[in-house]
């Protein structure tokens, strides 16, 4: 490990670390734009100048381009280096518009920070600024080329990292232009990362345009609920409206990025149709009244149809806390069926996948990125887990062959990330044994349990895409507590009542069911049909845990206070009918925000358990899962096999 001295501080770093990163390690952050840890060094912006006093290279060098070596003595405060950095900022600012007040990036702009850090203050350049025409890049990303400082991060991410082909660099000299060949929506399923990766306001989130400044946001470390991969995110909300989602780095999971589905699926949280009050037969009610009604109706049901005619149903999207309490609830209610999955196939496939995985063979996305051969079995990653495709691309870029196995692995997914993949019919044809680090990726949507079982015999590590952010956790609990699928339960003909906890149930399964209770935050079909509705909080409105597809439990924190978004607040909450103020908080004092009387699903279950005489606790995770209570939401998460001991 090379040892060097930066500003009189001795620092030891792994071989290959750049001097820029070495300085960062001891708390010296030198401004830089083109360098990004995920994209590497290219030396284009020339901002990270340092003076090398001793060692194999001397003089002013770009610290991102110099690997740390023994004997280096480096100064970041040297006059010449500081002058170079301030000149680079001055050069960049010759063309950058002074439009920070109307720029969405303002407040979270690397250029703002580094302009201040770079020491350039007074404009000396007297020429005109160059201007460009912007492009329409679709509904999600706003393009403002005049702000561009030509760090080339966007094209390097878009083309090299993500394999997109419809955004590139055109022109030359001071007319370099980053955009599409012509106006049009960006095609890459990872295009939203341009917003995060652009150091200034060229690419901003169109869906959150002009809504808030960085310091206005309610933010917290969170986990994406839109597939089973568990990518780390930072949702950002203001005035009870989830405005945007940013990627959060987790090297073991998603790395630096997230997919567009995860980034731009914010609207369900703000949906005006969301259940906001407990409802009995379509009528708003208080929580106590609703609980009483529910228990009364369940009692009636048992009298009429006998014990065991009730099914308690969870799902792959219900957080671990709620899922873990379901068995106790089912027991106290005398339910005949405990279901974690709705349809037979999904339950079986998920159960098979989860029982197949163990601490040695379960591949994380980090493992996929480092793999040297990848087979994708019966799976469309674009549908079941887009970020996995980005991980596959990184392996492919490093030379790993990519095989698409079976008829349910469409070639389109490879094309979407410009991966040259080979299509084969059977996994047996894949020469996995020839490689040191092969990974087989399997879906659970279109595969069969038998096919998934076969993966255990493949000489490779396995990654399975599961139905839902906590499907792994649900499958574990189902195995432990003897859960069955709702479809199987209904097929027995015994199910006359259903308590659906954040479960999506097809309408057919509800036919002939006398009592439907739904605990949910989404306005699902079940909620619309339910006799009793208990509204729960969305994942951004609560603390919780998801266990992702590789068995990694990750904690997410409450981002925002639940409640109806202030923008578009219904008239019933206005201060008075003649003074409607849809864009301002109502000046009426209330205990909680309008529409904010929601409870996390686990809390609703716990309240019920308490009413049924069970022990009330503030900690839904108990027994083996107790170890997950103090899980660091900003850590890498923990795989469930590691807590077993």
């Amino acid at each position: 490990m090379p040892k060097l001295i930066i500003d009189n501080i001795e620092v030891e770093v792994p071989a290959g670390t750049t001097v820029l990163e070495a300085a960062k390690k001891v708390g010296i952050v030198i401004p830089h734009f083109c360098y990004h840890p995920a994209l590497g060094s290219v030396g284009a912006c020339r901002l990270c100048a340092m003076k090398f006093l001793e060692g194999p290279v001397k003089g002013i060098q770009m610290s991102c381009m110099v690997p740390a070596q023994d004997g280096m003595v480096v100064s970041t405060t040297d006059d010449e280096a500081a002058k170079m950095r301030s000149l680079v900022i001055e050069w960049l600012m010759t063309n950058h518009p002074h439009d920070c007040p109307v720029c969405d990036e303002g407040g979270e702009c690397l250029l703002q920070d580094f302009t201040v850090a770079g020491g350039h203050g007074i404009r000396r350049y007297r020429g005109k600024k160059r201007t460009f025409l912007n492009q329409c890049l679709g509904d999600y990303i706003e393009h403002e080329m005049n702000r561009c400082i030509e760090c080339y991060r966007c094209v390097r991410f878009y083309q090299e990292f993500a394999g997109g082909s419809d955004l590139g660099v055109m022109g030359s000299a001071a007319r370099v232009y980053f955009g599409r060949f012509e106006d049009g929506a960006l095609a890459s399923p990872f295009s939203g990362n341009l917003v995060d990766i652009c150091p200034t306001g060229v690419y901003t989130d169109k869906t959150a345009r002009f809504r808030a400044r960085y310091w206005d946001y309610d933010m917290a470390p969170s986990v994406c609920p839109h597939c089973s991969l568990g990518c780390n995110t930072i949702p950002a909300a203001r005035y009870r409206e989830l405005l945007k989602t940013m990627a959060r780095r987790n090297d073991a999971v998603n790395g630096w990025f997230i997919c567009d589905r995860g980034r731009f699926s914010n609207s369900p949280v703000n949906d005006p149709e969301r259940p906001r009050h407990p409802m009995i037969e379509g009528r708003e009610a208080g929580w106590d009244e609703a609980f009483d009604a529910l228990l009364f109706r369940i009692g009636e049901l048992c009298e009429l149809h006998g014990e065991g005619s009730l099914a308690v149903v969870g799902s792959g999207r219900l957080a671990l806390e709620g899922s873990a309490l379901l068995p106790q609830l089912a027991g106290l209610l005398g339910a005949g069926f405990l279901c974690y999955f709705t349809d037979d196939g999904a339950g079986d496939r998920t159960a098979t996948a989860v029982s197949l995985l163990n601490t040695d063979n379960a591949a994380s996305m980090a493992d996929v990125r480092a793999s040297d051969c990848i087979a994708i079995v019966d799976c469309d990653l674009l549908e079941e887990g887009p970020m996995m495709l980005l991980a596959v691309r990184q392996a492919w870029r490093n030379g790993a062959p990519v095989l698409l196995v079976g008829e349910h692995s469409p070639l389109e997914q490879a094309k979407a990330a410009s991966i040259e993949a080979v299509q084969i019919s059977f996994l047996e044809e894949a020469p996995l044994g020839l490689f040191e680090n092969p990974v087989v990726i399997c879906g659970t949507k279109n595969s069969s349990p038998a096919a998934i079982e076969k993966l255990a015999r493949a000489e490779a590590r396995v990654a399975c895409l599961l139905p839902g952010p906590n499907a792994f956790g649900a499958a574990l609990l189902a195995r432990e507590h003897g859960g069955t699928s709702l479809a199987a339960a209904v097929a027995t003909g015994k199910v006359k009542g259903i308590v659906a906890v954040e479960a999506d149930i097809p309408v057919e399964l509800l036919e002939g069911v006398a009592l439907v209770a739904a605990f949910d935050w989404l306005p699902t079909e079940v909620v619309k049909k339910a006799d009793i509705v208990l509204p729960t909080t969305a994942w951004t409105e609560m603390d919780g845990t998801f266990v992702n597809n590789e068995g990694r439990a990750q904690r997410f924190r409450k981002v925002m206070t639940p409640g109806l978004p202030i923008k578009g607040l219904p008239e019933r909450y206005h201060a008075s009918a003649d003074k409607p103020a849809p864009f301002h908080p109502p000046r009426v004092h209330r205990k909680e925000p309008p529409g904010g009387d929601l409870r996390p699903a686990w809390r609703v279950i716990m309240d019920l358990i308490e009413r049924l005489g069970g022990e009330k606790t503030e900690e839904p995770l108990s027994g083996k899962l107790e170890a997950l209570r103090d899980l660091d939401p900003e850590g890498e998460g923990v795989r469930i096999w590691e807590i077993d001991g």
Partner: protein, 421 residues
Amino acid sequence: MEQVLFRHNKPGRPVTFAEYQAEGGFAALKKGLKELSPLEVQQAVIDSGLRGRGGAGFPTGKKWSFVPRDLPGPRYLICNCDEMEPGTYKDRVLLEANPYSLVEGMILAGYAIGCEHAFIFIRRGYETAAMNLRRAIGEAREAGFLGRNILGSGFSMELDLHVSAGRYICGEETALMNALEGKRANPRSKPPFPAVKGLWGRPTVVNNVETLANVPSIITNGPAWFKGLAGIPEAAGMKLFCISGHVRNTVCVELPLGMTLGEIIDGPCGGMLQGKKFKACIPGGASTPFFTAEHWGVPMDFDAVAKAGSRLGTGGIVVFPENTCMVAATLNLTTFFARESCGWCTPCREGLPYVREILTRIEAGGGETEDVEILREHVKYLNYAFCALAPGAMGPVEGLLRLFEDEIREHVVKKRCPFKN
């Protein structure tokens, strides 16, 4: 005067394949491939003292020696014929008269470095030169000088001509390789150097047209003969000089390295135009700092010119007479460089238009005293750009500040260009 590269020139037309061979052409190829080992060819070039004629003057044989020989897989040779330095047209004149020396030199160079596929990267404007080369390559292939098992030596090489879209930056060897690969012509960072990791990631040598065209005569006549061609003992060989501007004859001539600037202008150029007095010149292409009358006696060789504060560069001399506004001349050059920046790094992309803006303003009478200081900052700090384009572009500006600062200040004080009425 003995001519090496221009030896085969015919008045008004290119030399033919038959003529070239009859005059001793391709004898070096036969000698090299049959009698010498690749290492011996390389050693001859090292011993000859041949330095790169594209501008940087790096010893050619040494460059070849950096190519790893035992590495399996292809090695490449590229001839850089992107000649776009303003004031430089020697490669065009050479190729329009004689494409065969280059082809022969490339086969010998390819033999020396063990290259199986060589490329000539030529700019689009050089249509006649490209036509000549295409014909020469075809004739050489037919004669068995290209292709498999050349002259029974066991050595095989293909040679392809690539007509590029052409930009100044393509003359930078790593940008050239990117362009040849079909990518944007942005330079690559060095290290790794092309000799280790070049075209398609393989060891690659990039040489200028004139450099490669000199190789056959070195093999035929020996390194000592080549060394002796120069006018001074420190130099080696002949050099094509192309002179333009206010001289009587604007010519491209082959002269011994080491002739003084005065000897070149008064000799083959026939002196200044009637009634004009020498004020300054660009000694070696647009990116070299000016020479003035005080440099009249500087021997035109790499080291001597560098010692005098400029660079021999390509040997493209542009002569300015006494009534030239040097601010305007520098502005003209800076405008070229600002336009030709590839746009990759900040100092070049944004710094050159900055310099252009200042010079434009000074020339138009709107200059300020502090502008001189800003120009000085640019001369110093553009050295830290990604490639050599921006430092080169600052050559004339550096010369302007060093030699003609009073002229700049006169612009600023008088608030107009003193050379305009």
